[in-house]
Symmetry: C2
Subunit: 136 residues, 2 copies
């Protein structure tokens, strides 16, 4: 585990030192991460990892997302190559969203993080309560 952190350390050193070449602002990791670190992306990935869903199904599955943000988030996930969008010529045409291979590949590590969240929800909730208590 320490070795992984060391590899990241050298990344940071490189970007820090890079007045001429690399800048942390242009970091490729940031470029990819910013596409999935928003309010709805991981939730939709989580849903689609289970099975493909249609637009309306996702909307009912995640009742507090607005249609506007559902459209936009799916569009962004599709653009980054995580999600495949397929239109079926039914009489009211239906659209199915599913994970691509790249999406399934990304969901591997994402799922680890989701599992951590599930396991440590209690610890985080306690930390919040303690912090809010000392703040008041």
């Amino acid at each position: 585990m320490d070795s992984k952190i060391v590899s990241l350390r050298s990344k940071l050193e490189i970007y820090k030192a890079g007045s001429g070449g690399g800048n942390i602002v242009d970091c490729p990791v940031r470029d990819v991460i910013q596409g999935i670190s928003n309010k709805w992306s991981s939730l939709l990935m989580m849903a689609l990892a289970e099975k493909p869903y249609r637009f309306g199904e996702l909307r009912r599955l995640v009742p507090d997302i607005s249609q506007r943000m559902l459209t936009q988030t799916l569009h962004d996930l599709q653009r980054d190559g995580y999600v495949h969008r397929e239109v079926f010529p039914t009489k009211p045409p239906s659209v199915e969203y599913s994970l691509t291979d790249l999406g399934r590949s990304m969901f591997g590590p994402l799922h680890q993080l989701l599992q951590w969240a599930e396991l440590n929800h209690g610890a985080v909730r306690d930390a919040r309560a303690a912090f809010d208590a000392t703040e008041t």
Copy 2:
């Protein structure tokens, strides 16, 4: 204690079945994930995983974050228990931020995701280019 920790999959199944038991809106995973899935959290975690930093150091390390968002993101990370904030009584008082045990624990899976991003940056960039090409 939270004895009712349910697996991610069964959460979804429960919602689909339409029973009154579980609602995805109150999902504990969402509660935790939304705290770290924003523009700056993972980046600051990445920096602090390397070593503790002071406020001004972080600001220089991430030059495109505003002081306002740096303050706020660090505050939120501290509230959730990932980051420890320590004030040193130097002559202009300095403040050091470091990861807590919980923070290091969370950075494990997060680091997997960051590594995935580093490895697959090319694939994502290509997907974007292809998508933008067919869109025009």
